[in-house]
Amino acid sequence: MRIIVQAWRQYDRNSEGNFESYPVDNVSEDMSFFEMLDMLNNQLLKDGKDPISFDHDCREGICGTCGIMINGRAHGPLKGVTTCQLHMRSFKDGDTLVIEPWRARAFPVIRDLVVDRSGFDRVMEAGGYVSVSTGGVPDANVIPILKDDADSAFDAAACIGCGACVAACKNSSAMLFVGAKVSQYALLPQGQVERKSRVKNMVGQMDVEGFGNCTNTSACEVECPKEISVENIARLNREFVKASF
């Protein structure tokens, strides 16, 4: 099939960007979306043009490195799927794909579709951990944990830090990302000691980084490739209120 790719091109943080259009022929259904971009890039290179830069690594939906807006949807049209897991069988001959980077004040563009998500790391630095050093910890089976709690903590811990929630939100809020991490620890006995300071510090840093407020539209949950639930945002709010008293 033939696909028209309309890609955002931007040289670096300081330059203005613009869209450019490229036809891609001989796209097969079994190709992944990135394999289609690989093919386009190989052609651009041979034509003496600059390939389209995009971030990716595992190409199996787990590392959280990839993330492209495709026709206005974070990670494309499918639910619960990262950009790298998208296959061309989701599109049809003649389709135009408008591809853009995550757009958020806290995620400056580095080149084309590549953005700087280090704000997430700084939010984590502010409190996304249990303060235990290596060694001197008790046997793993000393603390039994209710299977349901362990499972819920896991559901929250499954966040891959891709940033789609931020990109999908009209306020560029990071509440789903932060809520997922705060929830993981709030649900586990290991997280209790620092429960209050953690949520305060992480939320504080989130504001410093320029992530916006929650708009309660749940756009984040819809676009999250790991289907992290907005319940985590509700829990984040409760934890924050509790920590303030």
Binding site: D12, S28, D30, M31, S32, F34, E35, D38, N42, L45, K46, G48, P51, S53, D55, D57, C58, R59, E60, I62, C63, G64, T65, G80, V81, Q85, H87, R89, R111, V114, R117, F120, D121, M124, E125, A126, G128, Y129, V130, S133, T134, V137, P138, A140, N141, I143, P144, I145, L146, K147, A150, A153, F154, A157, G161, Q184, Y185, L188, Q190, G191
Partner: protein, 637 residues
């Protein structure tokens, strides 16, 4: 050069304890006077960086990834081993040690493997304390499952995302230290060389991948934890950016590269579907706990698998290996799959696949049970192939997955360059000729959390490290060389893209240095690879310049090293005239087509010293002594 493995005296179970006691210590107040560079922030590097900072050292950590939460380690699915014996099924440190030595086909160093088994339990304790959400039973205690090459259940797991949860645990420990300032983290920084002063590793040269800026950094010791080199085959289950550059550049500066030909081909991957394929996806080995591997008895039978009755199916692993069945080690399972396909029993459009069937377990335990255990793997399979594995058997085929070979290290994890330590998949140490499932995560975390924090202190306390600065000539010179090499590649402006050449290399490697090797093929590879290397240096096409974000330049610089490594792999495979573990030489097999070792002549680790790159590396042998485990033919029958 003489290889000194520095294995401590005493019985194997006492060596690590004795060694810990006899090592020199750096007193707490002095630790802050030492700077340590850690390259790589996967499980091995991240755990090392965090732990060293907790101890008080100043750590500078580098990764080409944008964040320490990303690394190839995150993709590990199945689990991590430990000798906890929680299920009370007869496991022990000794048994984990024994299984690992045997699984590695007796080509690993006993003392290291024993230590690995010994610290395995501490790893699980550490991860749980950090809040890693391992799978639990209804009673609230940790759950285990079994993996290939073992008859006990010793694998801890977090659904099919164990690597992710372990790496996020490491990341949490690391960001905590970044917050205190004890770890300075450099994201999107590619290490392109090490810097030696007085023969000792004292720094690195890096390129900032966003701005292209080339700088050097100094320290008292350097740690590489830069992962494996499976991507030399182009197609593998490794993440796209995984590469050999850090190890290879260290090799060119004197670090011996050991057993480069020991690569692991994983039996259960989604088969290649087209020429555009950019990578291969693993279906975790844990699936072999409940899935049954089979091919049609009749060659060329292309009926829908659900229409092939049981008696016309060959469950060949269960037939050939009644006691281990579908859970034989990876090398055995891979080779048998290839053999079935070579004999015409392969299935699917390419005929290069076998079935992995879950019908029995779905019938026995129900779909929900299966989806609870393997849901994300089944979803992944469906996403990639468009087929539903709950209804039709998965199609799988072996693919390159892991590299047992790597930089040679002594018992202290130090390479042949003093001060240069190597951890995780990047070193050669613990898995011999074949790694058992769920043992790489264990090794990476053992190296980083529990071994290097001790052994590096011993090195630093020996003293003799003078002050150095990056303004010194040695550092400036190293920066210049890195720049010149990149400029040289960029100036070629030929007609072939990096991927074009990498794919060609991958084909040669898979064909001649892949699952089954022979003399003729390896000699052919030794002819073809240097030609590809010439082609690269004449015809490669890289756009743009050095001082900008330039992913094609990154890839080109990595490919240049893969081309040299590929040649060494073929040479190593040619010289090892035996079959062992993942290294299968067709000339050396038993009547039942099992690997035939030659213990008389090859019970050693082959450590290659770089010698100017003219195709004549020097071979050093570390003889392996087996005091505890007697060498027998591995049998999984």
């Amino acid at each position: 050069m003489i290889l000194n493995s520095k294995i401590p005296e005493g019985p194997v179970s006492q060596k690590w304890n004795n060694h810990k006691f006899s090592m020199k210590l750096v007193n707490p107040a002095n630790k802050r006077k030492y700077d340590i560079i850690v390259v790589g922030s996967g499980l091995a590097g991240g755990s090392a960086a965090a732990t060293l900072a907790e101890l008080g050292y100043n750590v500078k950590a580098f990764s080409y990834h944008e964040s320490p939460r990303r690394a190839h380690s995150i993709a590990a699915q199945g689990g991590i081993n430990a000798a906890k014996n929680y299920p009370n099924d007869g496991d022990s440190i000794y048994r984990l040690f024994y299984d690992t030595v045997k699984g590695g086909d007796y080509r690993a160093r006993e003392a290291n493997v024993y230590r690995l088994a010994e610290v395995s339990n501490n790893i699980i304790d550490q991860c749980v304390a950090q809040g890693v959400p391992f799978a639990r039973e209804y009673g609230g205690l940790l759950d285990n499952r079994s993996f290939g090459g073992a008859q006990v259940s010793r694998t801890f797991y977090a659904r099919g995302q164990t690597g992710q949860q372990l790496l996020l645990g490491v990341y949490s420990a690391l960001v905590r230290q970044m917050n205190t300032g004890k770890v300075q983290f450099f994201p999107r920084h590619d290490m392109l060389d090490i810097v030696k002063v007085d023969g000792k590793a004292r720094g690195v040269v890096t390129r900032n991948l966003e701005t292209g800026e080339i700088t050097s950094h100094s320290a008292h010791a350097v740690i590489l934890a830069t992962g494996g080199y499976g991507n030399v085959f182009f197609l593998s289950t490794n993440a796209m950016a995984s590469n050999v550059t850090a190890s290879w550049r260290a090799h060119k500066q004197g670090a011996c590269f050991a057993n480069p030909c020991f690569t692991q081909i994983h039996p259960t991957c989604i088969p290649v579907s087209s020429d555009h394929q950019s990578k291969l996806t693993l279906m975790s080995e844990s699936l072999r706990n409940d899935g049954r591997v089979w091919v049609p008895k009749k060659a060329g039978d292309d009926r829908n698998p659900n229409n092939i009755p049981d008696e016309e199916r060959d469950y060949y692993l269960e037939r050939l290996y009644p006691s281990f069945g579908n859970l034989v080690p990876r090398d055995v399972a891979s080779r048998r799959a290839k053999e079935m396909c070579d004999k015409g029993h392969g299935v699917g459009p390419t005929k290069l696949a076998v079935y992995l069937d879950f019908a029995d377990v779905i019938h026995r335990n129900g779909k929900d049970w299966v989806s609870e255990k393997y849901g994300n793997l089944f979803d992944m399979y469906r996403q990639i192939t468009g087929e539903n594995p709950y209804e039709t058997p998965m199609k799988i085929y072996p693919a390159v997955h892991y590299t047992m070979g790597g930089l040679w290290v002594d018992y202290n994890l130090m390479s042949t360059v003093p001060g240069l330590h190597v951890l995780g998949e990047a070193n050669f140490s613990d898995h011999g000729a074949n790694r058992l499932g769920a043992s790489a995560l264990m090794q990476g975390l053992a190296d980083g959390y529990f071994i290097i924090p001790y052994t590096i202190g011993d090195y630093l306390a020996q003293g003799g490290l003078k002050e150095v600065r990056t303004s010194d000539d040695t550092f400036q010179h190293a920066e210049r060389l890195v720049k010149e090499s990149l400029e040289k590649m960029l100036a070629i402006k030929g007609s072939k893209t990096v991927d074009d050449i990498h794919k060609e290399l991958g084909k040669v490697m898979w064909e001649y240095v892949g699952m089954a090797r022979n003399k003729e093929g390896l000699e052919k590879a030794l002819e073809l690879i240097p030609k590809l290397k010439d082609d690269f240096w004449k015809n490669v096409l890289i756009p743009g310049g050095i001082n900008e974000y330039n992913p094609e330049l990154e890839k080109a610089s990595r490919l240049a090293d893969f081309l040299e490594l590929g040649e060494l792999m073929a040479r190593d495979a040619l010289h090892r005239e035996e079959s062992c573990g993942g290294h299968f030489r067709e000339e050396f097999q038993t009547e039942e087509n099992e690997a035939k070792r030659n213990d008389e002549d090859f019970t050693y680790a082959a450590a290659w010293e770089y010698n100017g790159g003219d195709g004549n590396p020097l071979l050093h042998k570390e003889e392996l002594k087996f005091d505890e485990v007697s060498l027998t033919t591995r049998s999984y029958k």
